[in-house]
């Protein structure tokens, strides 16, 4: 591999934003036919580097070479024409357009007089979708797809050209295991065609499963490249965060209090039905299942965003009706929603204002918002969650993906709720912060909070939960205690095997 021409080479890339040196002289090389992981903490500069490569940002200094030819990427179209395809971390699809139109946007097949060749468009798209093994077709409106399926549409975009290099920026953040398998097949297919793949992810299992080499960034600087086969998680983590992590499963247990939340045969249309469970003070209950199992919908019902069609909710032993999020908040329920861009953040607002938004009416001095109280809350959670930002005035949209997620978590933790519901809390969060957030969840529970963790990551659910509720297609299949649960029994429960017996 060493005497081949690199598919791609970056040299001395510098990129600054006001107040931030996001990239500080980064160089690295991608060979044809290799899967090259790019790792680093939240805000290390991974996405920025890829945006430079994909023609979205112009570097302040440095040079890009494609097959050793110096190149300037002047726009995403230009980069794509040169064979560099970029699958974004944040989805960038047009909701109102069909799947096919999104995939071919800007280069729709044409007939005479500039008319779009719809038959060809749909046929070619369906062919691509077939290789991806997805359950929707080319004519579907993108806005009607789940986030996971939208991610698959993004991926399909890469397959419309003969690329030299494909960049995947956290593609698996919202995919289920089945979809991941398909994605990995796509990647290995690209690899066998001699395409250089750059793969960004915070998930170690994936990195060690599919990549050949790992390059690490830290605070915008290049830290080195390791051969995946010759290294291990500890070494990579150490290179990323400068220390080692204790990833042992939490063994600490603490006293549990009385029942904080009880749900009795709750149903909501055909989203979920006959769901019953309890959460005690001091307890972490994990909800595990496939995407579409109805977990998010249960959370939204508890948070007053959906009206249950039957069943009851009890808080502290008392039956309640929750009419709105404001109502839920007043009763001490917090929800960290799964879609940070759409539901969690006001992207154009600054960090502090986003974090204090649900309680802004309470942070007053006289009729005015108290600056001091707000900054105090922001500072506290910035330190607690290690949020990287030049200051509270920074617009949230300018933060890295993982740091945005931390703002959302800080926003709801700072409400000091009785019942905290977190939906995919560590999506896009680096290993160091992830274990910090897990510890924080345990710590909150030990202080007497009742916590519900919804996650599609089995290690996460196993790591933080005292009890695990396994769901399949809107129904609770089984409940496990932390002692009795095994990976196999959990997988079995969420795939609906033996559904008749249990239900």
């Amino acid at each position: 591999m060493t005497d081949q021409t690199p598919a791609l080479r970056l040299e001395g890339i510098v990129k600054t934003f006001p107040g931030v040196r996001a990239l500080d002289g980064v160089s690295f090389t991608v060979m044809p036919g290799e899967v090259h992981a790019l790792m680093g903490e939240n805000g290390a500069g991974k996405s920025t580097l890829m945006k430079v490569l994909g023609g979205i940002l112009a570097p302040n200094e440095g040079q890009i070479f494609i097959e050793e030819q110096p190149t300037i990427m002047s726009s995403p179209m230009n980069a794509k024409a040169k064979g560099v395809v970029f699958i974004h971390q944040e989805l960038s699809l047009a909701d109102e357009l069909s799947v096919a139109e999104n995939i071919w946007l800007g280069e729709l097949p044409k007939k005479s007089f500039g008319r779009v060749d719809w038959t060809k468009l749909y046929d070619e798209t369906d062919a691509i979708l077939k290789t991806l093994n997805v359950g929707f077709d080319a004519r579907k409106r993108v806005g009607d797809l789940s986030i996971a399926n939208q991610q698959m549409v993004e991926i399909a975009r890469a397959l419309t050209v003969e690329p030299r290099a494909v960049i995947f920026d956290e593609p698996t953040a919202s995919l289920t295991d089945a979809e991941k398998v398909v994605l990995f097949e796509v990647i290995s297919d690209l690899q066998s065609r001699g395409v250089g793949v750059i793969y960004i992810s915070h998930r170690m299992e994936e990195i060690f499963k599919i990549t050949d080499r790992i390059s690490v960034l830290r605070d915008g600087q290049y830290r080195g490249t390791l051969n995946t086969a010759e290294t291990n998680e500890e070494e990579v983590t150490h290179l990323m965060i400068g220390r080692t992590l204790d990833l042992s499963r939490n063994a600490v247990t603490h006293e549990m209090g009385e029942v904080a939340l009880e749900v009795r045969s709750l149903s909501c249309g055909d989203l979920f039905s006959d769901v019953s469970f309890t959460v005690r003070r001091g307890e972490v209950v994990g909800f595990y299942g496939l995407v579409g199992a109805g977990r998010t919908e249960i959370a939204e019902t508890l948070f007053g965003l959906r009206e249950p069609s039957s069943g009851t909710i009890h808080l502290g032993g008392e039956e309640v009706t929750i009419n709105s999020p404001a109502d839920a908040i007043k009763r001490g329920i917090s929800l960290v929603p799964e879609d940070r861009k759409g539901q969690g953040l006001i992207l154009g607002m600054n960090c502090r204002d986003n974090m204090t938004l649900p309680q802004v009416s309470d942070l007053t001095a006289g009729p005015f918002v108290s600056d001091g109280a707000e900054v105090a809350i922001f500072d506290q959670y910035r330190d607690k969650l290690d949020i990287r930002t030049p200051g509270w005035r920074q617009t949230v949209g300018n933060l890295s993906g993982g740091n945005q997620q931390k703002i959302v978590i800080g926003k709801w933790l700072s409400m000091r709720p009785e019942v905290l519901i977190v939906d995919e809390p560590t999506r896009g969060i680096d290993v160091g912060s992830k274990s910090e957030i897990h510890n924080l969840i345990r710590e909150l529970a030990s202080q007497g909070y009742a916590v519900i963790v919804i996650s599609s990551e089995m290690p996460e659910v196993l790591h933080v939960s005292d009890r695990i509720v396994a769901m399949f297609s809107g129904r609770v299949m089984r409940e496990f205690t932390a002692e009795e649960v095994t990976e196999d029994s959990l997988i079995q429960a969420i795939s609906g095997i033996g559904a008749d017996k249990v239900a």
């Binding site: 999020p325 404001a326 006001i346 154009g348 607002m349 938004l357 802004v360 918002v369």
Partner: protein
């Protein structure tokens, strides 16, 4: 580093493009006709901008909240006609609060349609523009309104009075601007307006009652319109049914010129005031250069286009971009 400062300057120009353009305009006008910067002329411009300005303050709330208000022009005609009519029937002390109530009832109605029923604000307020015009004509029977006894009333104070030589309309505009600016930038309600306009879904997930916030922005807008109608009526002591016609676009032009985003979530009262003044001075300058009054309508349109262009140019950091 040198690169950085150049970028910084370019970035500054792109961000403050409107202020820079304004300064260039002012200097050019002043050179062309020195009377332009005459203190009387300057005061005159501010005074005649005050009515538009008061309306623009309210519309700023609506726009930051993510909606439009095209009904303010015809609503202002309504307020003016109503207060003039009631003045002679029940006297100014009762006429003024009654007119405020009636105008704000219209604002509340729009607020219910747009806020609670979630109807598109462009359609609702465009419809109201015409419906309120009809209402005004029905109310007045199509006739002009006049105060019969112009000497025997204190009603003229809002339009023609003044304190220490500063005309009353300017004082009212300034006072309202200060109060509303404090509400928008310093109170929880103001923060919620930004949140609802910036991302309505995320605002809902944060427990903010989106419908009520939108409703309130329209109520505030109608309050400002009523104030503008009061100044207008008091200044002329009589009026046609169509005094406010076409003002909705000028108001919108001033608000956008000030930099409030039509997508919602961005803008400030201070910037709107700047927008109002820019619009006023440009129109005045063109008049002094001898441009026919009716050309103003075209000029207003051109200013709107330029403002919107500069707005997106500031966002993407260049006047022209290949990427959308």
């Amino acid at each position: 580093m040198a690169e950085l400062t150049r970028k910084g300057l370019g970035g500054f120009l792109a961000r403050q493009g409107i202020l820079v353009a304004f300064a260039v305009f002012m200097i050019a006008f002043a050179v062309a006709n020195p009377r332009f910067i005459d203190i009387d002329n300057v005061f005159g411009v501010i005074r005649s901008s005050a009515i538009l300005g008061v309306m623009a303050l309210g519309v700023t709330f609506v726009v930051i909240g993510g909606n439009l208000d095209l009904s303010v022009g015809s609503m202002m005609s309504f307020s003016t006609i109503v207060v003039l009519d009631l003045h002679d029937k029940i006297g100014p002390t009762l006429a003024i609060p009654s007119m405020f109530l009636m105008t704000m009832a219209l604002g509340a109605f729009i607020g219910i349609l747009v806020g609670y029923l979630k109807l598109n604000s462009l359609i609702v307020t465009l419809g109201m523009l015409s419906a309120i015009h009809g209402l005004t004509l029905t109310y007045s029977g199509g006739k002009n309104m006049d105060i019969a006894d112009k000497e025997g009333t204190w009603f003229a104070v809002f339009g023609q009075g003044g304190i220490a030589g500063v005309p009353m309309p300017i004082l009212m505009f300034a006072a309202l601007a200060i109060i509303l600016s404090i509400i928008l930038s310093r109170t929880p309600f103001g923060r919620k307006v930004y949140a609802v306009g910036g991302n309505g879904v995320a605002a809902t997930f944060s427990g903010i009652p989106r419908a009520r916030v939108v409703f309130m922005t329209y109520l505030m807008s109608s309050f400002c319109v009523a104030t503008a109608g009061l100044i207008q009526a008091s200044r002329s002591m009589g009026s046609q049914n169509t005094v406010g016609q076409g003002m909705e676009l000028e108001v919108l032009a001033a608000v956008i010129l000030g930099g409030a985003s039509l997508l919602g979530g961005a803008g400030t009262i201070f910037k709107t005031v700047i927008g109002v003044l820019i619009l006023g001075f440009i129109q005045n300058g063109l008049l002094l250069l001898g441009l026919a009054f009716y050309a103003q309508y075209v000029v207003t349109w051109i200013i709107i286009i330029l403002a919107v262009w500069l707005d997106i140019a500031a966002k993407r950091g260049g006047l022209w971009s290949r990427i959308a």
